[in-house]
Symmetry: C5
Subunit: 159 residues, 5 copies
C-alpha cells in the first residue's frame, strides 16, 4: 500500500516550493522503491495551512509537509508564529509528523538568493520527510551534527 503524504502550500509565497518538493520526493521514492502518493492543497496564506492540513491528514495521509513564506513586516511575523502553533497543534491532534518549511521573505539577500534558500530548504526537507517515514536511521546518524536546511550546515563542537 502506498504511503500518502500531504502537501500544503500557499498562493502568497513568491516561489513554488510545493513543486520542488514533489520533484524531490518522486525522484527519491523511485530510486529507493518507496511507494508514495502525494495529496496537495493550496491555500491563500500561512494561517490557512493548519485546518487544510488537518483535513488531509484525517483523509488518510500518514505524514505531511507544508510550505509558506511569511512577509517581512512585524504583523507577518506574528502570523507566522500563529501558523506554526496551529501546525504543531494539528500534529498533536493527529499524532502525525509534519515538517514545516517556512522561508521568511527577508531571509534572502536578494531575489536570487531568496530563490536559492527556497529551493535548498524545500528539497532537503522533502528528503528529510522521506527518511523519517522510510529510513529513520539516516537522521539518527546525524544527531547533534549541525545539519541545516536553506543554508550550509553548522560546525559540530566537541562535548
Amino acid at each position: 500500500m502506498k504511503t500518502k503524504i500531504a502537501i500544503i502550500d500557499t498562493m502568497f509565497a513568491r516561489g513554488d516550493m510545493g513543486k520542488v518538493c514533489i520533484e524531490t520526493m518522486e525522484k527519491n521514492a523511485k530510486k529507493n522503491n518507496w511507494e508514495i502518493e502525494i495529496m496537495r492543497k493550496t491555500v491563500p496564506g500561512v494561517k490557512d495551512i493548519p485546518v487544510a492540513l488537518s483535513q488531509l491528514l484525517e483523509q488518510g495521509c500518514q505524514a505531511g509537509i507544508v510550505f509558506g513564506m511569511p512577509g517581512s513586516a512585524k504583523v507577518d511575523k506574528t502570523c507566522s508564529h500563529e501558523a506554526s502553533l496551529g501546525i504543531q497543534e494539528v500534529q498533536l491532534m493527529t499524532r502525525k509528523t509534519v515538517l514545516e518549511v517556512f522561508v521568511h521573505e527577508d531571509e534572502g539577500k536578494d531575489d536570487k538568493d531568496l530563490a536559492e534558500v527556497m529551493h535548498n530548504r524545500a528539497s532537503k526537507h522533502a528528503l528529510n520527510l522521506l527518511w523519517m517515514i522510510f529510513k529513520p536511521e539516516e537522521l539518527e546518524k546525524r544527531a547533534g551534527s549541525g545539519e541545516r536546511q536553506g543554508r550550509e550546515n553548522a560546525e559540530q563542537v566537541m562535548l
Copy 2:
C-alpha cells in the same frame, strides 16, 4: 442544498467589510450558479469573534470568513494575536475553513487608503473563500505566485 457561510464582523472596525463581502459573494455566486446562504453576526471587537464563530459553525455553516480592525496601540496588537489564535482554534475544533480578514488600523496611509485596503482585502478574500469551497483549482494554479490581498501582488522569483 445551499452551502451555509458564516460571517462575523465587529462594531469596532471603521468600515463595513461584512457588507463588501456579502456583495462580492452574492455577485459571484449568482454568476457561477453556486448556491450559498450567508449567516452574519456582529460582535464588539476582534476578541469576541472566536466564540461567535464557533456558534455559527456548529449551527451548520460549512465555512466562515471574519472581519476585524485591530487598533494601532501595542495592546491592540496583542488582542489581535489572541483573536487570531482563537480563530485558528475554532477551525481545528470544527475542521472547517475560515478566512481571517484583519485590516490593521495603522496599515492605511490615511483614511482614504485605509478604506481602499479594507475594500480590496474584503472582496478578494470573499472570492478566495468561494474558490476554496467550489473551485479549489483556482488556488492551486496560483501556488507560490505572490498573490496578495489588500495591496498589489508580489513578484514571483525563479526557483
Copy 3:
C-alpha cells in the same frame, strides 16, 4: 426562566468595575423586562479569572463578563495576555459568550481619567452583553461603525 450571567472581577483592580456592571445591567434589564440573575465571584488577579469563569459557566450561567486591571510593568502585560488566552479558551470550551473588560493601569492619564475609563468601559460592555443576549440586532446595525468602549468612538471611513 432567568438568564444567569457570570461576573468575575479581581481584588487587584483599583476600582470596583463589577459594581458598575451590576448597576448598569439591573437598570437596563428592568427597563426592557429582561429577566437576569447575576452570579459574581472575586479572585486575586487577572490570571485567576479563567478557571473561576469556567466554574460559573459550568454551573449554569449562559454568558459572562469579566473585569481586570493589568499593571503597567512588562511582566503585567504578559500576565494580561495569558489571562486573555485563558478567557478565550473557556469560551471555546463552553461555547458561551464572555466579554473581557480589561483596563490597563497605564491607560489613564491620571487617577481621575483612569476612573472614567473604567466606568465608561464597564458600563458600555455591560450593555453590550445584554444586547448580545437579548437584542443582537443592536450590534448588527453598528457593524463597522468604529464603536469604542472606554473612550469616544472612532470615525467611520467610506469603503
Copy 4:
C-alpha cells in the same frame, strides 16, 4: 474530610517559598478549624510545574498553589510565560483553582529585598487560597480595592 492542597515548587528558586506557604497555611488552618492536607512536590524549574501539578490534582487535590522564580534573562521570561500558560491549562483541564506565585529574580533591589518579596507574596497567596476554598467572601469584600501581593497595596480610585 480534609481538603487536599497541592504545592509545587522548584529547585531553581533562590528561596524556599514552599516552606513559607506551608507554615502560613498550617497556622491559619488551625486558627480557623479548616481541615487541610498538603501534598508537595519539587521539580527542577518552572516549566516542569504544569505536568507535576496535573498529577497531584488528578490524585485528589482540590486546589493548588505553585512557586517559581523566573531568571532575569530574556529566555527566562519566555520560560516563565510558557510555564504560566501550562499552569492555566491544567486549571482548565481539571476545573480546579491554582494560584501561581512567581517572583522574578530581577524584582528585588538586592538579595534582602528579594527575600522579602518572596516571603510577602508566598504568605499572602497562601492565605488567599485558603480564603478561596473556605471563605470566598473575604475576596468579594476586597473587589477592585487595589490589593497586591509582594509589595504594599495600590490605592483605589473613585469610579
Copy 5:
C-alpha cells in the same frame, strides 16, 4: 519491569547531547540498580520534537527528556518558544514528565564554552529525570536552593 525513557534529539544541534544523556543515565542506573530502557528518536529541529515525543510516550515510555539547540536569530527564538509550548502540551496530554534541555546557540562565549554548557546541562538533567522517577526526595531536599543546570548554582537568600 524496566522503566522506558524516551529521548528525542535533533540533527540541527551542534553537539550530541543525546549521547551524553544516555551515558549518564546508564552509569547512574547501574550504580543504583534502577532498571531502565531507553528509546531514542532523532528529528530535524526543535519544532519536530513534540509530535515525535508524543509517539514515544504513547508507545509505552513513562517519561522523557528532549534535547535541542535553538539558533541565535530572532526567528529561532520564536521556533524555540513554539517547540516548548508543544513539549508542554504533550506532557499535559499524556500526564508524563518530560525534561526539556535546550541550549541556545548564543549561550556559549565560544565553541568550547558552548560544548561545556551542553555537557553540563545534558548530564545534570539526565540525573534529574532519574531522580524524579526513582528518588524524588533528592529534589525535595533541594527545594528553593538555587540549583542550576548548564552553569554553577545560584546563591540561596534567606526568607
